[in-house]
Symmetry: C2
Subunit: 266 residues, 2 copies
Amino acid sequence: MESGRGETGPGWQRPGALLLDLSGVLYDGSTVIAGAREAVERAQDSALQVRFVTNTSQKTRASLLAQLRAMDFAVQESQLFTAVDAARQWLSQRDLRPYCLVHRAIASEFADFDQHDPNAVFIADAAEGFTYHTLNRAFQLCMRGAPLLGIGTNRYFKADDQLLMDAGAFIRAVEFAADVEATIIGKPDRAFFQQALASAGVAPQQAVMVGDDVHGDVEGALNAGMRACLVRSGKYRKGDENRVEGDFRLVDSVVEAVQWVLAQAD
Amino acid sequence: MESGRGETGPGWQRPGALLLDLSGVLYDGSTVIAGAREAVERAQDSALQVRFVTNTSQKTRASLLAQLRAMDFAVQESQLFTAVDAARQWLSQRDLRPYCLVHRAIASEFADFDQHDPNAVFIADAAEGFTYHTLNRAFQLCMRGAPLLGIGTNRYFKADDQLLMDAGAFIRAVEFAADVEATIIGKPDRAFFQQALASAGVAPQQAVMVGDDVHGDVEGALNAGMRACLVRSGKYRKGDENRVEGDFRLVDSVVEAVQWVLAQAD
């Protein structure tokens, strides 16, 4: 699968931008993926525009940046695109009062929204915040017509060597119960990728996305017209590459992905 | 919609059996639906075979029967078909060790299963038993290949004048997260209806199902080849009748449904 895939495609051009997922690609829990730091540095030193795109919703933007820097990753503030920021923007543009089913660690990011008498529902990765009570509240609001906003369609993530259910599963539960369709912010939503691409000034045909989520990262990127690399680190499980149709590249880790993208960019 | 629908259909025959849902059809919370008691009595006194079919999984069979009798409904033990019984049977036939995500009130019904080192997952209406922790346990077992058994595909139910998420939503969450398909026991599963029909000795074409759930009761019954009445009581909400294609009858309550079925049976 490694060879002869992802190198040519309809309308693909020499890579001008590299989009990197965070968790599972650069680090796994608190451990940096072997060689990831140097790979990011090589990319940052090249002509490539580097962007970091994440659906993580258990950390604020500030604490994500702090974590990346503590791990010695060379990341500029303007290179980071989070689904949480995109969701804030979406809610704010529509002047909504969201019922926020979010992790307590990011509750502060939504403190400036009026959450009294909510007229919208926002579901991120609330972890222990997902209870029968809170999910029912979200469901009941949706039954009364409140729009449902969800972060990503991620099925699960890896934490402390465990796989844990991600926001996508709980969004599905509320969608099904209330018979509504959520607006998805973050990967795999095309608009989210486009935001990162616009900031890099490149077309999708000139960009490569690297991630460990075959749906959110790889399928999403392909649907947005980009190329994609699926890494065998993080939550990757054998056979994931067969869960998605399309032409993408399976690599051992971000190190191999960066090597390949740089070779294509030359 | 009342007139001219549900009276004739491909291969339909004179009704020989009447299948009644319980909650929302015979009672709403602790209140008996006006005229329901007498309607059941009329049906029981007629030539019709009457069966009671329920997905309720917050009560044991014994306490359901006790409740029906306390409400003065004329119900024989052998006329009651519950999804919980069907699930017990399914698990037992396959000699499985289920991780049971069920309401504490029915935990006793599964006490004779070995639940140590589970190799199957069973999801019923666990209510407050649905937590991030228990759902993750179910998800993780499914990721390791454990079959997923779910009671019904009910979206929500009504309790104390509130709509609350039902088992179907949580089954969907685990299905999505683990990318698996649950085996559904109970309505709308055809096999569950068939069990009730077999005990009544009638073909689907000779049976009418009465329920307040347009998917579980009405759509399920139509798919199983029966006729169906949707009542405007219980969790029925205006417009529910438009959520399902097919020829069924919309009636005010079980009283009108029984009247109609008896008229057809004459």
